[in-house]
Symmetry: D2
Subunit: 366 residues, 4 copies
């Protein structure tokens, strides 16, 4: 039997007999289950996710969000008008992967999503539009195209649309992980948001978003990033510089034609939240990335440009707003027809902190 061959879950079972049936009956009575009848499923030779690779087309999602805007009120109780991406492999739960939640949230003109807080870590990414402010512990944070916003665990937060047009964006959370592991607490806050001001920049940005500078008034490190919003202007600039440096023959990109930045907690240089990693990737026109396999699951959303992803050997053409999920250990590669910008988030901090992280690049350990 090859070292990497799978274990047949029913391979080499004891011979059936009355005694054996009595034994198995005894197991049931005592709430026991033998390992030998289930090992192959429980301990596969490599991750065999139930979740499947899947693409959600923005062109199909947005109209449904808009229809929800007409038919479904937002307010206390339901809390958010959010449509969760349900991985087809996960049996009808609104889980994009076993650890991650991804949803489109929709807020109509002058609507308010009331304040609450929860242990679950959350972020927003804005693929288009503007006009909404997210209020995090009383600090109003403008939402605009390309911005990445944080509402880490146990921070009160609500949203209000200050404009005459609706707005839709992406929510990302660790709801499935929190649910499966029974870690979640939830508390209602104000029925309205606590501050309707609409400043261009949140107080958190004014205090923290100065490169290489840390306020002396906050020398304790924070578990999650204190930054309320990471602005597109900075992200775009960083990616642009990486490609320019690459053109000058300088080390700057992940690999030829592939620029990328990670959103970090400035107090530590590490991930923005304990369970969620967020990054932004840019491919030059005509670039294809190596084939990667990674332990843990990840979600991408196309921000701009044309290209595609190959997951488990299947090609998917992608356009602005399209979302796709790559479950654990599924091989994937990105490719671009024109400059191709993608937002990414994943559960990598969980895998790294618990020492389960593993990567293969083009079939070699990465």
């Amino acid at each position: 039997m090859s070292k990497t061959a799978d274990i047949s879950p029913h391979g080499q079972q004891p011979e059936d007999s009355l005694e054996l049936r009595a034994l198995y009956a005894g197991f049931e009575v005592e709430h026991l289950m033998p390992l030998w009848t289930q090992l192959g499923d429980l301990m596969p030779v490599h991750p065999k996710p139930k979740a499947v690779p899947h693409v959600w087309k923005w062109a199909n999602l947005l109209p449904l969000a808009e229809a929800s805007g007409r038919l479904v009120p937002v307010g206390r109780g339901g809390e958010r008008r959010a449509l969760g991406l349900a991985n087809p492999g996960l049996g009808g739960r609104a889980y994009v992967s076993p650890t991650l939640w991804a949803a489109i949230q929709y807020l109509g003109p002058h609507e308010v999503a009331p304040e609450h807080r929860h242990s679950q870590n959350a972020f927003r990414f804005v693929v288009e539009g503007a006009g909404v402010w997210t209020v995090v512990n009383g600090d109003p944070v403008r939402m605009s195209r390309g911005d990445f916003l944080l509402t880490p665990g146990w921070n009160f937060h609500g949203h209000h649309n200050n404009s005459d047009h609706p707005m839709a964006w992406i929510d990302g959370l660790d709801i499935p992980f929190s649910w499966a592991n029974d870690v979640g607490f939830f508390e209602f806050g104000s029925e309205r948001v606590t501050d309707y001001a609409t400043p261009n920049f949140s107080r958190s940005e004014r205090l923290w978003c100065h490169p290489g500078l840390r306020p002396l008034s906050v020398l304790e490190n924070t578990v999650s990033s204190p930054v309320g919003a990471y602005r597109w202007k900075h992200t775009d600039r960083a990616l642009t510089e990486q490609l320019l440096l690459e053109e000058d023959g300088q080390p700057a990109t992940v690999e030829q034609g592939h620029a990328a930045v990670r959103f970090i907690n400035p107090t530590t240089g590490g991930d923005v939240m304990p369970t969620i990693r967020a990054e932004f990737h840019r491919l030059r026109a005509g670039t294809a990335t190596p084939v990667r396999r990674e332990v843990g699951s990840t979600v991408f959303q196309v921000y701009e440009g044309k290209g595609g992803v190959t997951m488990a050997g299947t090609e998917h053409r992608l356009e602005k707003g399209d979302l796709f999920v790559i479950p654990s250990w599924v091989p994937w590669s990105l490719w671009s027809d024109e400059q191709f910008d993608l937002f990414r988030f994943s559960d990598a901090p969980i895998m790294e902190r618990l020492n389960f992280a593993r990567t293969m690049i083009n079939g070699k350990d990465g």
Copy 2:
């Protein structure tokens, strides 16, 4: 609505209509699920585990293990003659909790459980008996009553019974966590164990088990403890000293009458493995611990003595070998009629590393 009242998962739903049904049908087509129909279940006000508190009586488990010894061969394919404790709340999976696996493993006279390795972290605890050696990466480790043995992720390991009598012990692993999050790799090793020597002490102990001393040949820290076995002699001595110090009025115990030690990785002073914490607790006769609620799940096995546990208000009398599980946030307290020794393991490192840990002691944040 009170801040802590639960959210009715079906509270405040949009009015039924043909349009709404069409919308919901559209969600299904596009693999979307609305948050507003499921929020209360997904994000409870505090952890509401599906797992339930449960006690397994050693007096009932051991005969079933013995019967398995007669009826079920051990060998390649099934790998281990292990009976997993199946939490009655978890729908017939062999999960003692959402994160943890606990099983009785049984090995007959001169039987061998073949070598393999896996990403899942594992340990053994020996509540009674002796005669088996676990071979970890070629290092034979004696198993005897009271010993705690490690086989951290990706270490080859097998077992062989060098005696004329059977032996049973407890296996603990993070199988449910690894399965749910798709992190597991598995590889077969030797069909037999690679070293049949039966030394009193493993090489790992000879190198590492000298208090306050570190070999200069190993200055890199290791993710998991390099120690193959933590011997009862040391555990018993440490607990005895704590109670003696307490009698002298010195700070030493967790609380009056309650001595406890944590098994640690000597290269870091932290937990023995990235996902599993292991401890040993001793209560003086007539001691009752405060009521604790903790995020994360934990399993105890009674090692010696008489006493009980109260979980969610229900008292359970306990005897040697009995096992019980306390799911997340379930209130619990231990009490003793005579000196009461318990082995404990839990998923606390997961909760702490991901910042979900929370404790209440007698109703106050701990």
Copy 3:
């Protein structure tokens, strides 16, 4: 004898006798010295620095630097035209404190200071002027008023003046610490600088100076900051925002009227180099800071504005460019007549990493 009274270094000495003299002679022969004759000096009740508080007036230093420009060539061997501040208490060594070196460096029109590298950590701060580029490992870094530049240990660096006017700036290093503890290595590099380009921004800034973003191509943390220059534009903006937030009643400043930022290593959120901390402080007009005593020594340079410092009870009026040193445990306070900007550096990372840090604020442990 009070617990805090000093130990007389000659208090309670053994009675003089021929035997005692013979004993002391024996000590000399064997290279021994008794503790009892020197304890009070060796182990004072609190730090009693030999270094003294001192102010250097820019108005006096600059002409001497200019004269050096006329009389002293710069080049291989001497390496730098730098005038070290010599603390009057340190016996004629060019040490501003026991750990720190501070110097004015002066470079004439089109002059070049050749490349070299050394274990000693170094920075530059520009109080006025422009026109020089520092080349760090081949990366040209523009120097302009208000900029803070890094050349951490073992990085090759040289300077060239690309302009028709001279330029002077401040060098800060850990030379005294390195010398006293015998840690220094030195190596010559190119006789000229390796790149005469004069870009507005160094490659390091283009890669790293985007708030909250980290290039995916550099995920290993670096011992020292990878940032070549911290620009005045960002520093000024950060300080301005802190004072504006304070006006809005938001927490942002160190204390009322006192804004401050620390220059950090973006890969860790910690100090820019292992031995040197650098900060920028701004006082509103009419502000006085509490009286601080800190273990470790620190140097300030006035960047702009009018005010003063009180050290060990003595007031010193300060103007643009003035430098002053505060030795360990000397009480100090800053005060301002108008908005008062100061650059600061210190050996605080040494004190913190070795656990010697201690602070008193207005007579209380800080």
Copy 4:
């Protein structure tokens, strides 16, 4: 000029002139010193310690300690009857190196050294004898041959001789480092020791010295080790096992025939104190170690056996009790005629925490 050639401190000086003399006079007035007149001394191509390698013969030191016992009282003011090893290169200061203090302390029958505490970190090592207890924050710690005792910074400590014979041992501290950097605080404690009990084991050992076990009552890590004494029995056993494992062909020793352990802080696995590393080394008969050069200074004391050390090319034969110092970057090698046991301490934690550590082994970077 070769890249590694030294810089002549007087090489390439400006031409003498009246103007230059006036300039240099100006420097003096303004407390400035030019770099170009001193660079070679300040920044050598590699560490050029003023301290020299030196050996102190126990046979000569002990009689002087005994004579001190007759002629010099011990008590408040002088505090300790300690003879500091004065490195011949350090100008008559009682410094064994720029960072370290090493002394013989001598206490007569039933004498008491009063309690005090100081920021300086201290340890004792007992090369022979017994009978004294060191009381650390009220915890009496027995001193016996081969034991290594800690009194970390700011812990009250005194000594009392409970026997009818005198006792001598080695004190190690970071006095020179603390003095040079102005970090020291000192406070008198009780004139006598606070507890005259003479237990075999200190409370700290009873709580902490159980391999791989940590008391649940102390989960906060401590800056310095909480262990009062590391006993010879454990050290000897650890070294013996390493050599036995080596004989079995197992990795265990630093290099062939060279066993070594580091004394560690069990809460972290790191050094016992923030500034001082302590180790114990054992060479098999007929072993010679490679030639090492290390940044930082170190002191050895021969515990048992016959052998020698070669420092900077000079051989020194060594016997029980002999002490020797190796200054920074001085090449050294140990060799043994018979089994050779040596205690070692150094300032390595300073060098590592500040990133100055560097090693060469047989001429190659280590």
